[in-house]
Symmetry: C2
Subunit: 391 residues, 2 copies
């Protein structure tokens, strides 16, 4: 062990003092520390800071402001904060140190959501267990590039293939899964824990083995920020062409790529489509414009109340009523909608209006209203419910 220490210490020589500090000096400072009773303690070593606050996804929001708590200076150098008991869930948190946004300096697990890095951790069992990497057979995750002539770009896409796919001759059904505004092809795998949810539900026999295709819904981009040829651009909500019909038009390129490159179950009984927020808007409109393509449609907190924008002269958003009627006539097995009762008025109303449209023509759907708002907590839950109903 002595040898290893020496070697490590020498190696650190080239890695800088900050690395050493994290590894040697701050050792013993465990943050976050998840206690058996579900409370969680966060600690920061900061002898010179004047104020440290923590903002966590479990804290109740007040209007536009998410919850923030002030950390207490325990002694000359250590600041700490302990949460209430947290229910089983994956949580995110971030800090501000003397007014500057930061992640936990003692914790390496962070995830990007749009432009923000937050730390993440998981508490408890039950539903939260679906978000963990458990010792079950794991599927593969592939980042590939497909040609999208509709968009005039080669674009990056994430694909989950279930365990066993590579060593089988079977055809598999496909779920096309769409992210929200500001997200990209990595969102469902990151904040959405889609691979873990699929691995765990398939292992429990609760979901069928399926391919999950996660495209990038921002046709302005080739790929998530940092993974395309525009380099390390700053992620933003403010992308052009996200809701102008172009992505929905380009869905045919994605479907073609998937069906030419993967062993898929033919016909609509082998296809499902779902999405959250903007991805729910994309989902609804793709389903309307690709008649007889999907037997399963899932709208999660779908941004149905948002008017399309942009100057793409698309017919994607035209003749919605007749397209909906056609979809009804063509038939499908499940049209599933879920939304949090604390979601934005605009989103709630958009969904209510859409349901009314369906009711008016006697089009069947299932509607689930849950607690909570426009959050990943809900979207992970919706995905885990929806995929159990597929195929």
């Amino acid at each position: 062990m002595k040898k290893l220490r020496l070697f490590t210490f020498l190696l650190l020589g080239t890695m800088g003092l900050s690395a050493q500090q994290d590894i040697f000096m701050a050792r013993g400072l465990t943050s976050p520390e998840i206690h058996d009773d579900g409370t969680v303690t966060f600690k920061v070593k900061a002898p010179n800071a004047s104020e440290i606050t923590i903002s966590g996804s479990w804290m109740p929001a007040t209007g536009l402001a998410s919850g923030v708590e002030i950390m207490k200076k325990e002694n000359d150098s250590i600041w700490s904060y302990t949460s209430n008991r947290l229910k089983p869930e994956m949580y995110r948190y971030s800090l501000t140190i003397d007014g500057v946004g930061s992640i936990d300096p003692n914790y390496a697990h962070a995830i990007r959501d749009v432009a923000n890095l937050s730390n993440i951790f998981i508490v408890g069992d039950g539903q939260a267990n679906l978000y963990r990497v458990n010792q079950v057979p794991h599927g593969s995750i592939t980042y590939r590039w497909y040609d999208s002539p509709t968009v005039g770009k080669t674009r990056r896409i994430a694909i989950y293939t279930p365990n066993g796919y590579e060593n089988s001759d079977n055809n598999y059904p496909v779920l096309y899964l769409h992210h929200g505004i500001g997200g990209d092809e990595e969102a469902w795998l990151g904040s959405g824990r889609a691979a873990q949810i699929m691995d765990n539900l398939i292992a429990e026999g609760k979901a069928k083995p399926m391919i999950v295709v996660m495209p990038n819904g921002n046709v302005f981009q080739e790929a998530s920020p940092g993974n395309g040829s525009s380099g390390f651009v700053q992620p933003t909500f403010m992308l052009p062409n996200t809701m102008d019909g172009k992505f929905e038009e380009s869905f045919k390129d994605i479907k073609k790529f998937v069906e030419e490159n993967y062993r898929t179950v033919e016909g609509k009984e082998g296809r499902a489509i779902a999405g959250l927020s903007m991805g729910g808007f994309h989902t609804a409109n793709i389903a309307l414009n690709y008649p007889d393509t999907f037997d399963y449609i899932g709208l999660f907190s779908s941004a149905l109340g948002v008017r399309p924008m942009g100057d793409n002269n698309s017919t994607i958003y035209e003749d919605k009523d007749s397209k909906l009627k056609l979809q009804k006539e063509n038939g499908y097995k499940l049209y599933w909608m879920a939304i949090g009762n604390a979601d934005m008025e605009m989103i709630l109303k958009g969904n209510a209006d859409f349901r009314k449209k369906m009711d008016d023509i006697g089009m069947l759907y299932e509607y689930k209203e849950t607690d909570g708002g426009h959050t990943w907590d809900n979207w992970r839950k919706y995905l885990s419910i929806f995929v159990q109903r597929l195929f």
Copy 2:
């Protein structure tokens, strides 16, 4: 555009004040800003901070301490620092805000190296262009799991397949590429930019299309921290069993998995192996113990001077001299070693001793000594040179 703004603003309601601050209030604060002359300006908005320092991989290190510069408070709220002209390279940097380690709060691109998150950016052309995502045909990156009976675990592995692999019947040669201590199956794709280097060199016709297999060399782990069933554990250098022969023994499981699952070129002319630091140690020992398996061996800043440790009763590190002779007799096309002249004494000496061993038996190799030390700057460069020599 008004609609989009409104929608976005509403969405942010559920995402917390910190998100809004980053997107709305700090907009216009570009950091890092790479100027045409190769200087780079970093800015932080921090009206209440007392001291902000920046540590960048371009700053000269002093002994065990990496370079640190103090940022200047430009006005009531903005701190800034401008670098000298930086030569083309990928750089990392991090901040300390009133003594607490932090990443740049206005920049979303960060990468984990062992337990540390740092921001990254790329400056300039030439060699640095190899590290960019350019508009060239892209390979695929897959995270898969393979069975390792030698280790008694199912383990995660990263695999790069070159553009065209999926739509061809050709067999491809394989490079097995190993990370250093504290690293994992993500290190070469993250800090090492292996996928970009391969994409760019293949597109230029300077490297042959090849499969690049990046295993996790820590047999203690199933996967990189956060991606295995031990959960969001803190990454550390201090893992048991990293250099006790077990990983080298388990290489047969990796080779078996790759050759059963990918269309590979048979025989040693279709196999290369390389690694950095601890991965160079693994590479040298795998090459010694799998006689007649590789035509190409690459040791990058290889930790050859480190004595193996641990209590695995392995024969991996025994009879080195006779194994080396056998390797010589079996023949190979390239034994390539590179190291920075500012590397640690222990590493330089280990490499010199190993070369002497080879000289003593008249075993051919190429040796390249570069500027710099035990750094990713060098390892990216070595990879980009080495792969041009393969197959």
